[in-house]
Subunit: 353 residues, 2 copies
Amino acid sequence: MTEAHPEPPAAEAAPSRRQPRKSAPTIYDIAELAGVNPSTVSRALGKPGRVSAKTEARIRAAAAELNFRVNPIARALPTGRTNTLALVVADITNPMVFGMVRGAEHAATAAGFTLVIAESQESGETESAAIEQIMPSVDGIVLATTRLGGERIADIADRKPVVLINREVAGVPSVVSDVEVGVRQLVTHLHALGHRSIAYLSGPPASWISERRWASLLDMAEELDLALVEIGPSPPTIEGGRAALRRVLASRATAVVAYNDLMAIGVMKEAAERGTAVPGELSVAGFDDIFGSDLISPPLTTVRAQLVTAGERAVARLLAQVVDGEVPPPDAPLATELVVRGSTGPASAPNAG
Amino acid sequence: MTEAHPEPPAAEAAPSRRQPRKSAPTIYDIAELAGVNPSTVSRALGKPGRVSAKTEARIRAAAAELNFRVNPIARALPTGRTNTLALVVADITNPMVFGMVRGAEHAATAAGFTLVIAESQESGETESAAIEQIMPSVDGIVLATTRLGGERIADIADRKPVVLINREVAGVPSVVSDVEVGVRQLVTHLHALGHRSIAYLSGPPASWISERRWASLLDMAEELDLALVEIGPSPPTIEGGRAALRRVLASRATAVVAYNDLMAIGVMKEAAERGTAVPGELSVAGFDDIFGSDLISPPLTTVRAQLVTAGERAVARLLAQVVDGEVPPPDAPLATELVVRGSTGPASAPNAG
DNA sequence: CTGAAAGCGCTTACAG
DNA sequence: CTGAAAGCGCTTACAG
């Protein structure tokens, strides 16, 4: 029955490619080399001072010789701690998330934690699935501008420490921007330029922060007696902005405030193609001050958010829960600030409505 | 000795905050509920068809009832497989990496793998440390435009499957761009516009791809009998580009080709501030075609790279090693393509040299 | 097809 | 201070 040249088992023979290369040294290897019990190795390499100085020295020497690195996943099993944090964003390629990613990365790395970034791709279901998948592997989760419903978020926060960015849910810690200050500055600026009719291009339907921006705009419109319309919701992308231009124009608003800079850029691109002058015929403003906002011509007037700081703070608050087991009292919202550039100018003509 | 009110152990009592919330159900819980041995649960939930249909149904029902998710880190310990891949990039906030990240993310997610992104922050040491830290937790690593030396890379590849992006090291699989085609198109374009003297702004010192770009430029310069100088190396950032403008101008070159779009944008910003007309007095071109390249004014002429595809392919090749245990033969380099926009124009004046 | 056992690489009470 | 043992939640030969 056996053939002349039986196929060698996959694991064997093959030069070096199929094989799980050098398998990493373990604490047992160190224990043997140092002549101690593995548990002593574990202690020596963990919190210091629990082992005699000379034993520790011997163990460290052995560890160095073998080039030992503790296996984080083996450590995670008994401790339940993975030393990993997750950051969930809607779209990794949206420049708006860079700042948050960078801030979160730094804060996590500084604390010796690894950050994994998951993408929801602007879909609540994808987001939910991504979170379920990542949850057992991390010690806590930062949810940035999420699509999830409040109950779902509360449910997740029930299972792992969670910090929200730009969203509020009862009982879940969050880091938010103080939308109002920036919006006040923006609307005041537009009003001073003679604008009396403004359109707001809203973002994703479930966006808490888009809601907040709208609400602040409405407050200001009432205060300054301006006409204000909401157009949307639209996808928070360049395409979303482009697609909305006709409605903006049709509304006879002389200024448009987009949910974010990406949409504002889309409006400007479409306007350029259609021959609508910015800011001559239409003033345009956005939110966030992303990379690219000062590149476009005219450069974009926008309400700058402290994205890096938001990422840092979110991780810091998460770490407070994860390592200290306590949720710190909420700190003040992050200030926003109007950055006036060329895309806003004097109102062209009185509202023709 | 015992006090009247001994402090309760931290684990107890506390309302709900310090506590490792709902602890997740395990296969033991399922086994008990379904009346089978845990090993049978493991089989039923793993590869199908190893357990009788009715037993499997019972087990699945129990798993669903308990809302069971296999614990990936517990699974990783006996199998040695984490179902996680790492992507190491120099700088997460460089728009150049978006495309790669997106492509890699998609390919990884589609295969049921989690992608973790690590940042080297343009430093070889940070990169090395980040890799050491992440290595035990992942099944394989994509190294994008790395700062590491060839020996170090070979050493890493010896321990885990590795795929390189835009770099070549003997024995390590890679995904590279076909620099030559794009450079040929670019230099031909500049030559046709009358440019006879070109400056190349090189990127990071150890950058393999910057080297390749320079080498292709040199080939073309010889072929078309053009003057060519290298300026740099410089940081691959907007700042790096800005800082180089004076040297570019001093060189009397009529066109400058930057290592990447970020640097090209820096050159343009600095030129705008100094009143140097682009492309009137100086033509500018870059590489990659990042977000923002078509936003700046004039829009940037650039050699577009297939970044998304590069990310996808790199992960695909990594997966081939990780799951199939084989390294597929190298495929053809990814095509590059010249995108002509407004930042390049007729040469201003003959080289005054 | 299914159970009982051993093991992945650590950590951590429990003794001494 | 240090050793011996049990356990984290899985997987996978080994039997039957």
